[in-house]
């Protein structure tokens, strides 16, 4: 597999997006899904909580110059709940974020993150709180996310992260896009299909 697809170490400043159950409609309101490419999605990230009806920026971490150019995002519990729209992780990635560290993630959202090569990793509520505080105190300091050691390092702290092994290994090996792997089993797919009664009309 291509070495450029291997993703095991991320180092950069982070933006804290506090709050639980931040749903995909909040991450990207549905009206922006009318575009037929993902190209502009980064511009719409958290749009309706970042800007008022006149388009004037309000108080939101993404509008705060202190967190400008962040490449990591720190979030709360059940982040990305709601719709299956890949536009949500696409918006985050195209905004410039390379990995998300949070308390927990909704199932479909986490799968979409994996599919586009952006790890979404979990840490305990205590450690996430610690991380938020560190970022507020040191917004320009870098944070290291290491998938090999399953840790996040910041200041004097090293915290453990949780990421299912099936997800971690594909980032380490560069096989997070499963397409080629799935395709390589084409014959077996055909064989599986043949054994299913509905595929032959229950004849």
């Amino acid at each position: 597999m291509s070495t450029t697809l291997k993703r095991h170490f991320f180092s950069g400043t982070a933006v804290p997006i506090e709050g639980d159950d931040l749903d995909t409609d909040r991450i990207i309101p549905a009206r922006f899904l009318k575009e037929i490419t993902f190209e502009n999605m980064g511009n719409y990230l958290f749009h309706d909580v970042r800007f008022d009806s006149q388009g004037k920026p309000g108080t939101h971490p993404l509008n705060d110059p202190a967190f400008k150019d962040a490449s990591l995002m720190v979030v709360g519990n059940n982040f990305g709940c709601g719709s299956s729209r890949e536009h949500a992780p696409q918006a985050i990635m195209r905004y410039g974020i390379q990995a998300i560290i949070g308390e927990s993630f909704a199932e479909i959202f986490a799968g979409n993150c994996k599919a586009i090569g952006m790890p979404a990793v979990s840490a305990t509520p205590h450690d996430i709180r610690l991380l938020y505080q560190y970022i507020y105190d040191n917004p320009r300091k870098k944070i290291d996310l290491n998938l090999t050691t399953k840790t996040v390092h910041f200041g004097d702290h090293t915290i453990a992260i949780d990421l299912p092994e099936s997800r971690r290994s594909v980032f380490l090996e560069g096989t997070w896009n499963a397409l080629e792997l799935l395709k390589s089993n084409e014959k077996r797919v055909q064989e599986t299909a043949k054994k299913l009664p509905y595929m032959t009309g229950f004849a």
């Binding site: 299956s84 909704a106 509905y198």
Partner: protein, 468 residues
């Protein structure tokens, strides 16, 4: 680990192989697509000159972006027109059956799949839409996927997936008049929470689900994802088989008999083992109404809104935000609270039985003068049936708008939207901030009967006053 459940049987029969990372490659028996989450996937296929593996196992419709007032082409919204054209070109190029408005079979993807008999027990079903869990009502494993995964299904008819745990949700008792499938699922989400289902498939069983029609079962499974469970299902039984008999894509004659025998064998065994379980009873079940910004924040209609101290530390902050956004206060009652808009529709509650329940209530009055009420059938076929049996006339006579089929005001991708901080009594599935198209719009989720009652009262009320 679960054993001998329907989930295990269907998973095992569709498993292609175990992948190096430990995930299973699963064959996808039915792939449903719509305009919003597919253009990027098709673009990638075309860019690489790739082909579809099983073009006859993908079916398309248009639902999210289609206007419900006039569906005349070109659509007034240029983006909607372009997105529709993209789908039209893609289905044409790849030879995918497309239920557009000219077929009279167009509708919300989760309404037409079952209606056409495409959805069948024992299938794996994927669609780029989280409410794909709806199809679990038939005893299939149905789940939402992202656009990259849509591309993988188009090209390989398979996906790399982690096996979920299975939680059995047993609901016993009878549904009292005025309480419906919507109340059942809102109650379950209230109890287990919006993240309680992460990592689980929900198997719904017991008296309540046994007695339900397929349409009611679809309402329940539809909202599994709102409780965090990507999959929700009900074991197939005679109600399932009777529903499917004579449906367009269902097996016919001898094949149907063979199919029924096979479908019966898929139900969870008496010796099935589950990873988790929960038993509930209908005795205290009231018509449910959400008051907050996630579907777990709900009360029985006669209950007072919860005090902040009643929440755990982690839920308290979300509740505070919800109260501020909704402009409600702890301790208040929603009964008697005026509403601005009523939306009856969506993949949760736009089927014929939903419209009948709503019409029964709406026939008892007129839509309050300050209320805008829209009724949006889930499909062209439902629209036709509802008109034939006089439901449309009841809605129109009451002063509600009777629309064309589509997702409408559930998600604000079409002209049907809230304005400002309007408060909407809605039969849809999400009360997220801004969900219905205005960044400050407010949504109260409830059953079709409750929404219809809100329309004629002009305020939230307890529909049991007029039902039963």
């Amino acid at each position: 680990m679960s054993k001998n459940t329907l989930y295990d049987k269907v998973w095992d029969s569709h498993k292609v192989t175990t992948l190096p990372n430990g995930q299973d490659q699963l064959f996808i028996g039915l792939h449903l697509i719509h305009e919003v989450t597919t253009p990027q996937a098709f673009a990638s296929l075309k860019e690489r000159g790739a082909r579809m593996a099983f073009p006859h196992r993908t079916f398309a419709t248009i639902d999210h972006i289609i206007p419900t007032l006039s569906q005349q082409r070109p659509f007034q919204d240029n983006q909607a027109e372009l997105m529709t054209e993209a789908l039209e070109n893609n289905v044409k190029q790849f030879g995918i059956p497309f239920f557009d408005t000219s077929t009279n079979k167009q509708g919300i993807v989760h309404v037409i799949g079952p209606e056409l008999g495409l959805t069948q027990p024992g299938m794996t079903i994927a669609c780029g839409d989280s409410h794909t869990s709806t199809h679990g009502a038939f005893g299939s494993l149905a789940f939402g996927i992202g656009t990259t995964e849509v591309g993988q299904v188009l090209e390989t008819q398979s996906l790399a997936l982690n096996r979920l745990k299975v939680r059995r949700i047993q609901f016993n008792g009878l549904l009292a008049p005025g309480t419906y499938a919507k109340d059942v699922i809102l109650k379950i989400i209230h109890i287990l929470g919006v993240k309680g289902g992460i990592g689980f498939a929900y198997e719904f069983g017991g008296d309540v689900f046994d007695a339900m029609s397929m349409e009611e079962r679809m309402t329940v499974c539809n909202m599994s994802i709102e409780g965090g469970a990507r999959i929700g299902y009900i074991n197939p039984d005679d109600i399932t088989f009777n529903y499917l008999k004579d449906k367009e894509y269902a097996p016919k004659g001898e094949a149907f008999k063979v199919a029924v025998k096979h479908w019966k064998s898929l139900a969870s065994g008496l010796d099935a083992r589950y990873d988790d379980g929960l038993t509930l009873h209908t005795q205290d079940l009231q018509p449910m109404v959400t008051w907050g910004v996630n579907p777990g924040q709900s009360v029985g209609v006669t209950q007072m809104l919860p005090e902040l101290d009643s929440f755990s530390k982690e839920d308290k902050k979300t509740a505070e935000e919800a109260y501020a956004y909704m402009k409600f206060n702890p301790g208040m009652s929603l009964v008697g609270h005026p509403i601005d808009v009523v939306f009856i529709g969506s993949c949760t509650n736009s089927r014929l039985s939903d419209l009948r329940e709503a019409a029964t209530v709406m026939a008892k009055g007129k839509v309050a003068p300050h209320v805008k009420a829209i009724v949006v059938p889930g499909s062209q076929q439902i629209k036709k049936q509802a008109e034939a049996e006089g439901l449309a006339d009841i809605f129109k006579a009451a002063g509600a708008e009777w629309r064309e089929a589509g997702c409408s005001m559930c998600l604000a991708m079409n002209p049907d939207k809230l304005i400002g901080d309007q408060l909407c009594a809605s039969t849809s599935n999400r009360n997220f901030m801004g969900r219905q198209g205005s960044p400050t719009g407010r949504t109260l989720l409830m059953s079709p009967a409750m929404a219809a009652f809100a329309a004629i009262q002009g305020e939230i009320g307890d529909v049991r006053e007029v039902i039963g």
